[in-house]
Point group: C2
């Protein structure tokens, strides 16, 4: 299936496509063990910088340090760009300063910005010092835009042409310039005041006659990105409108740079990752973080959960007398709470995603809430019957079966309602719904679940 022409040293089997080849990892570590510099360079040569970064992340800290020292001058700047933040700082500290300077000098300016953003002050300085003055100024300018903004994401090199030019003029202009960016896909047409007015793809320029005006070839979809726009919105625009590249403008609407789809794709990937981890109560971070950092990051969510769990316990303690007389209630009550929690998580995840993709708006919020409540009602009724039977068969009490059934319906309806209303309200209050919805919704379903079940039991069974 592989053509033998491509050379990246990853496994191409259907199951583990693009997984780092374990044998090669073992060979590399063996070369490190035997201090065999030539063999190491040889084994690493076919690997893409992204794969080398993965390799460095996956081996332990001791092997990593030895590998980097042995690899020495072969170390490429792109590997740094691809590394996880935690490992990156470690690697920079290990690298010979001269190798580091060389590695960084080869990088594109937007990659250097990406690298610098996450570093501590002294490491930032060390890298900036290694750069030539002109590069340094350009990078400091980029860093003057807010974090996570289009201004930081863009590259500053843009190929532009006056809007009145023809294909021939554009081609001659490009073929005369020696400093075209390595990757570009569009020529941006600009007005005399440098406002971008349209995009023309290189493919169209290639296939049109020389006398055709550029404006005749302009792309139908054209988006201009303000430099201070959040990168999340930039990624959304690229995905929504299938953009390949988009011009970035300053406050006065003048062209200052261009963002290409590969950067937007990386942002989309990060934002999704962040959302998934936030929904699970895990902050940002990576597999290679230390135990102490991971513990710190997981702690807050568990602490919030402890408070909500204690609140739920207080509800239970209101019914201690009832439980003392019917211990079966203690056996069954976690079922009601657990089902409510799960149904609530289902609803809130759908709502959080729909908010992120702009699919849940003022136009349909009431319809979505109604639907979630109805779904909770239907599923609640089904599980009420099931649990009613379980209650009856297990404990021989039709009243107990009825109580757990009714509590189930109540809790699943409330789960659907809270699972939608909570994220929508949080979004309105400018709190990230992915981060905070879970705690609120499970608090509601725990409290309602215990209260409905034990309260009804108190009324019916006593």
């Amino acid at each position: 299936m592989s053509t033998g022409d491509e050379t990246i040293g990853t496994d191409k089997g259907q199951d583990d496509a693009y997984m780092l080849d374990r044998r090669r990892v073992a060979q590399i570590l063996y070369a490190v063990d035997t201090n065999d510099k030539a063999e190491l360079a040889n084994l690493m040569e076919p690997l893409h910088a992204a794969d080398i970064a993965d390799l460095l992340e996956q081996v332990n800290a001791y092997d990593r340090a030895r590998l980097i020292r042995l690899y020495d001058r072969e170390f490429d700047g792109e590997i740094l760009s691809e590394l996880d933040e935690a490992i990156r700082e470690e690697v920079i500290a290990i690298l010979n300063p001269q190798v580091l300077a060389e590695a960084v000098r080869d990088l594109d300016s937007d990659d250097v910005v990406d690298l610098l953003e996450d570093l501590e002050e002294p490491q930032q300085e060390a890298i900036l010092d290694a750069l030539e003055d002109s590069d340094r100024v350009a990078i400091e300018q980029s860093l003057s835009y807010p974090e996570n903004s289009a201004g930081r994401l863009m590259q500053r090199e843009v190929v532009m042409a006056p809007e009145h030019w023809t294909v021939g003029q554009a081609i001659d202009f490009m073929r005369e310039r020696s400093d075209l960016p390595a990757q570009f896909y569009h020529v941006v047409m600009v007005s005399p005041r440098l406002h971008p007015v349209g995009n023309v793809t290189l493919g169209r320029i290639m296939s049109a006659r020389r006398e055709v005006p550029l404006t005749d070839l302009r792309e139908e979809t054209f988006q201009v990105i303000p430099a201070d726009q959040d990168e999340e919105d930039v990624a959304y625009a690229f995905n929504q409108y299938h953009l390949i590249s988009a011009p970035v403008v300053d406050d006065e609407g003048r062209l200052v740079g261009v963002i290409t789809i590969d950067d937007a794709m990386a942002v989309l990937d990060e934002e999704h990752e962040e959302d998934i981890l936030r929904l699970a109560g895990v902050g940002e971070g990576s597999l290679s973080d230390r135990v102490i950092d991971t513990t710190k990051r997981r702690f807050p969510w568990l602490a919030v959960n402890l408070v909500t769990a204690v609140l739920a316990s207080m509800v239970i303690s209101m019914f201690e007398d009832t439980i003392a007389r019917f211990v079966a209630l203690a056996v069954l009550m976690p079922i009601v709470a657990s089902m409510g929690g799960n149904a609530g998580t289902q609803s809130l995840t759908v709502a959080v995603r729909a908010l992120a993709t702009r699919d849940l708006t003022g136009s349909n919020v009431w319809r979505v809430i109604r639907r979630e409540v109805l779904v909770g009602l239907v599923n609640g009724l089904i599980f009420a019957v099931v649990m009613g039977c379980v209650g009856l068969l297990w404990f021989g009490s039709p009243q107990l079966g009825a109580v757990i059934g009714v509590a189930m319906v109540i809790n699943l309806v409330v789960a659907g309602l809270a699972g939608t209303v909570v994220p929508v309200m949080l979004e309105k209050m400018n709190v990230d719904p992915a981060l905070a919805s879970g705690a609120f919704v499970t608090t509601v379903t725990d409290i309602v679940g215990f209260f409905a079940f034990l309260g009804l039991a108190g009324l019916v069974l006593l």
Copy 2:
């Protein structure tokens, strides 16, 4: 901030960037109410097909049908491509067959494939019948590749050149051809047997002298995609190696098509969405699905959860006598289970993501498991102290405080262990860890939590 040059009718404010403008939605619905065809066409004209699709998804079914009938011949095929599956079938059923035929004829072949995949047989036939014979054959060929494979994702039009050509030959060739694809970024160099051997970007061709051989300009990173590779792996390769386009080859390694980054980005987006929803126990689907479909999709996960909750209840019922004597146990036991469930979800989410991004492999799995267990231990110890105090202060029993503290440590350690081992094992067994991990891990933490807490209480308090 807006330049006034771009025309897409979405709100560009910082908070709601790219959100559909509510006023425009209201105006559109008013035009539908007053049956004002000209005004409707006028209001819709500046909207991108993706925004029109969002609009159709967000209004209710009655307005949607009226809008589509009034919009009539203006309806563009691209809107269909952008619609959610559920709504898409509904819209196709409403569309005048002639309008539908026209709309589909304008689409690129890969978009038609994307459209057909999800449709029922009779609707598929209706659309295929509307196509010209040559298009029909091409589309049926694409449909012969497995679902979700690179073969379905690729476009068949490729710009290729023999590997021995110069820049001048490539330019002359392209400028003579009238049927170049609308969007292309690379010229693929091929061997005489049509095996792709390298990529050259149009930008580099533009800026090189005519006599330079194409091979001198080849991109450093070059990936060849087998046509039967899963689209998820394709998206991973694009993201990992920062590809813009990649040639697709058949079993013999011959060039059959090309995949571009915008398609890979759409797949990445879908796969992430799927992972998020699966982790929450929600199947695929969209906000616009009917109540009955949503209920069916949510039901299986809730049913699995009911079984695991009943298992946990059985553990509790083993300790009925203990609970009957110390009702405080019933009050406190959900706290231990809840903390374990949350810690387990944290660990499993990190593990599931790391598996998806190929960051968790044989090289580091033991180190990750050890880390998760240590994180569970440290957090467990902290919360053990907190809950020990709560137990003591609330119920005045140091023994009860000690029991809940020890149970907490045990359950958080088990949560870290199960949260990592379960997804890794599921992946090894080729079961999607995003889909199934949650149920297993919470079963473990529920059972261990109740057993540890109530069992210890039985030993210490009785």
